[in-house]
Symmetry: C2
Subunit: 431 residues, 2 copies
């Protein structure tokens, strides 16, 4: 008899199969009863009919608990009314492990803190299962996009030796009698990568020790960072919008059931097709002003500002050419206005905030040295970074896309702690 998964049932219609999984729920309507089985690939309704099922199986009705692990055998039947379109006519049920204590997570509502403490079990729920599958498909889409567009994967290191811009948001590590710091961005290493390989990306965890408890912050989150030689700010924006467009098209293609579970309106997502709107920081400022915002020119946009801006567009919005003073030292200046930096942020629609930050990098060594001095930073730690301008410097650009914020937007979930398997925040290190 074939051992199959729920997701593969359509290939076994009319056949007797074996499934292995966990009891999600049971219910009775007299002479027949139903078992909802989950096996990690989906949910399946099994019908237990006296005379068709073994006597032992039929008598299990009162004995089964939620999350009992079981092996069941039965006949695969087409049933359009069932989720997935199939149903199992149960022949036999073997209990592998019987749950004797009540399962902590019932099908009722629970508080967020309780659920986070039971994250190892909460992941089994329909909703969390759907979000993790969308996360997986997002990761796959990102990697496929870069792999099929000539990028080489160059993993940036996690351990870095310097905290030249201050240790406020850096995690410090005891490293063989000296200190190391956990990376906040792999960008500088990707710049080395781009001059060696043309186009590179890294995709790994990054860390920020922010004393922030908002729904948008994690201390540990994943970021993908492409970097491209011979690419300016405009082409950089084209790469950014094409990446996001590709992600959306792939999750729409592969995660229909998951969006159903989340009750996410996918018509909004179907509209996310490049090109995306591009406005300057100055234009964004004008939009805020005409909406009565008290936003002051020269600041970074806060979450409320981003929400106002995103409401004016039904696609992700790219804001470019920022006041140089609020951007990092390595950003190239606009040749038309030296006070502006060639940075770009992408704001997700529906108020989900910034999902991409990037820009064109300064490629002139004298300008970069001046900029480092102006920011009161030491030159020595940047020696290798300056080498990239000394030997074969080229115009180059890149950006970073935050995985969890992107998944939160795609899933329509407000709190990013649901978008990573085991979230880490200021107050949470377990499970």
């Amino acid at each position: 008899m074939d051992k199959v998964t729920i997701s593969d049932l359509s290939q076994h219609e009319g056949k007797e199969v074996e499934l292995r999984g966990w009891v999600y729920n049971t219910r009775s309507i007299g002479k027949i009863w139903f078992i909802i089985l989950r096996d990690g690939t989906g949910l399946l309704q099994g019908v237990v009919v006296k005379g068709e099922a073994s006597t032992d199986a039929f008598l299990l009705e009162q004995k089964l608990s939620q999350e009992d692990s079981v092996i069941i055998t039965g006949l695969v039947k087409k049933e359009p009314r069932s989720v997935g379109g199939f149903e199992l006519g149960i022949k036999d049920i073997i209990i592998i492990n019987h749950v004797t204590e009540e399962y902590p997570i019932s099908h009722k509502e629970h508080g967020a803190d309780f659920l986070m403490t039971n994250r190892h079990l909460w992941l089994r729920s329909k909703r969390q299962n759907a979000i993790m599958r969308i996360r997986h498909q997002t990761v796959k889409a990102i990697r496929d996009f870069f792999d099929s567009n000539g990028f080489t994967l160059i993993d940036s290191p996690i351990f870095t030796s310097n905290a030249v811009e201050g240790t406020t948001t850096l995690f410090e590590v005891d490293y063989f009698e000296r200190s190391a710091y956990l990376t906040q961005s792999g960008q500088l290493y990707q710049e080395a990568g781009a001059t060696a390989f043309g186009k590179t990306y890294c995709f790994g965890p990054t860390f920020r020790a922010e004393k922030s408890k908002t729904r948008r912050h994690l201390t540990e989150f994943w970021m993908v960072e492409p970097e491209m030689a011979f690419v300016d700010i405009d082409e950089n924006m084209t790469w950014a919008e094409n990446l996001v467009g590709y992600i959306v098209s792939k999750v729409l293609e592969n995660c229909k059931n998951e969006f159903d579970v989340l009750e996410r309106d996918i018509n909004i997502l179907k509209h996310i097709v490049p090109p995306f709107p591009r406005i300057t920081y100055d234009e964004a400022f004008e939009i805020l002003k005409s909406n009565g915002s008290k936003f002051e020119y020269g600041n970074d946009f806060g979450a409320p500002d981003e929400t106002i801006l995103s409401q004016h567009f039904d696609k992700p919005l790219m804001i470019h050419r920022w006041p140089a003073d609020i951007k990092a030292f390595y950003m190239k200046r606009d040749s038309n206005n030296n006070k502006l930096a060639l940075g770009v942020d992408m704001i997700a629609p529906e108020g989900y905030g910034e999902i991409i930050g990037g820009g064109q990098r300064e490629d002139n060594i004298e300008t970069l040295v001046k900029r480092i001095r102006h920011h009161d930073l030491p030159l020595e730690p940047f020696k290798w970074y300056l080498d990239l301008r000394k030997y074969g410097s080229v115009p180059h650009s890149g950006f970073g896309l935050g995985l969890e914020r992107t998944v939160a937007w795609l899933c329509g979930t407000r709190h990013i702690r649901e978008t990573i398997p085991f979230p880490r925040t200021m107050t949470r290190l377990e499970p």
Copy 2:
């Protein structure tokens, strides 16, 4: 005119194209001279002929330095004697950035430490470029293997809260007035994943603070860790050999040029097709004994032992059923011999050492509690881990494959520091 890359030249035969890259080398034979261009996707020979190239371009011969960044235009010609099969009849050369100081890495030999200090530039060399491409294709093959076999990606966390097995090889992090530790393995979290999704994997950086300076050790390295519900030690070994067989087949398919650069004998790799030999620890012990080794029963195999064992097989070797005393507390015991743990290690051929460690996990809660107590470990930090046995426990297994050791074997390179873009060791945190 089309802007193209060297890897795409075959699609532009007979056309004039623009290429952007860096000067790798130049040489002259009188009235014509040659420029070797690298653009990150490959190397290309350009021919500069008086009368065919612009006068400006022709006169550049004495001016160009290694690693000058340039834009060149020319005619794509078939040339079977050239690497890649094509040559460029140069029309014009525009220098973007001229190198005025001598490039530190010439085409001569350099010491390892000097090269590691200049890792940001060393990555541009032919050999390092080839290794990184093989690494990329290995990563891609691993992810494709799991994605196409029904596994869900469940990233394990990097920050963990406990150091119950001692802090000797753990990196400690200041975490908001308490301590966190960098993960050494995502396994326990994958066990939670497997009971939620059936089959899961994580693939990220892991950390070991080992005071070891051997060629096999990095403080930061990447590991892929699959975990599967309803899978025993035997099926676990089948997954492990199929994964490695798939990786080898994909890099052979996609990295022919790279293996040429490395002068790696791919006939040895072509032979790596599952099934792989499986022997018990006891059988391995007998092999060592009959080879005159002084290895003592009950120990873990050292590098010299692994080398002896690998010499007896031309495929990766799986050694299973280990003395339980030298394996972790969570390993399930062999039902035929309670002194043996159902662990498995995979040893690469040609003396490249262990690339996989894994096994079947203990799924009985009483046995596991007893084991934790026997190891003098506190129960409280394992509460969530024990929950996985309390609610729907199932037989399950998994393993971890070390990326850098695998790439070192595939590439035939003895020191794993060449297999990661920016290696971190006891003494190295830069660049």
